[in-house]
Amino acid sequence: MKRHFYAFAAIFIFFASAFTVFQSVDWKIADSYSIKFDGGDPSGEFKGLKGSISFDPNNLKASRFDVSIEVATINTGNGMKNTHAKSEKWLDAEKYPLISFTSKEITKVASGYEAKGTLNMHGVQKDITLPFTFDKDIFTGSISVNRMDYNINTAEPNHGAQIMKVDIQVPVTK
């Protein structure tokens, strides 16, 4: 019995150790992040980035992004445009206060990495692929978002840009 106990203990420790290897690295979002969007008119940035980032280049299976930004923090550099952007007609910050992205899978590609996941904006969930790089503790990525896909002011398709290029730069610390 005693001999079996040590064998079970050894097996348990082996598997427990294996789980520690599979654990990814958790990162904290540094304050100097930037999430800028550019559609010509309008262009600007968001603040209020929160969430959890678990990422290990050597263990992408355990890596995961679950982040959100506050719609009310939008800044186009113009007070009137900010008010319009937050209004019911556009992003409706009161009803949909957050834009969130949750990854399902992160894979390595030639240019860096790709995070496949769900972008939740304006009450619409859509699967997207976010290409990004990770260098010197900085995540850098860029995607294009079509506001029409998220039912944002679909009544006026030609009022302002439809497609926004979103540039994301998130420095992180351990």
């Binding site: 600007g44 800044n75 186009t76 550099g77 113009n78 007070g79 009137m80 445009k81 900010n82 008010t83």
Partner: protein, 129 residues
């Protein structure tokens, strides 16, 4: 003729600058906003002096070209121009590193009227000369 308008403009510019500096300090203190990269001591003085010199040129031109009811047309034009300038702070896009752009029009719009107000305030002194 322009010498009198020029003096009028310089004094109006100084008064408008003083009013602008006081107002900006009170406004920025009350709202805890910082627009010092755009609206600061030098920009306020520069803008008000330039505006009042332009008003002086405008007045000289009115006196020269409009013989009848000169002051009425001049005052009307100056008032309309001051109102029209409101479109600038409302439509301007500030650099993204400046927080609370919503507060910017509230700072600048009243100041747009200071040059014309200052001109009108001291106008009786110069019109009686």
């Amino acid at each position: 003729m322009f010498k009198k308008d020029f003096t009028h403009g310089i004094i109006a510019g100084i008064l408008a600058s003083i009013a602008g500096i006081i107002y900006s300090h009170v406004y920025l203190f009350a709202n805890e906003a910082d627009f010092s990269k755009i609206v600061n001591l030098f920009s306020i003085i520069g803008a008000n002096m330039a505006a009042c010199i332009l008003i002086a040129f405008l007045h000289t031109a009115f006196v020269k070209w409009i013989r009848k009811n000169t002051e009425i047309f001049f005052n009307l034009t100056l008032s309309v121009l001051s109102f029209a300038l409101i479109v600038i702070p409302v439509s301007i896009t500030l650099p993204l590193n400046i927080e609370f752009p919503e507060l910017f029009p509230g700072l600048v719009i009243p100041m747009l009227f200071y040059p014309s107000i200052a001109w009108f305030v001291i106008n009786p002194i110069f019109s009686n000369q």
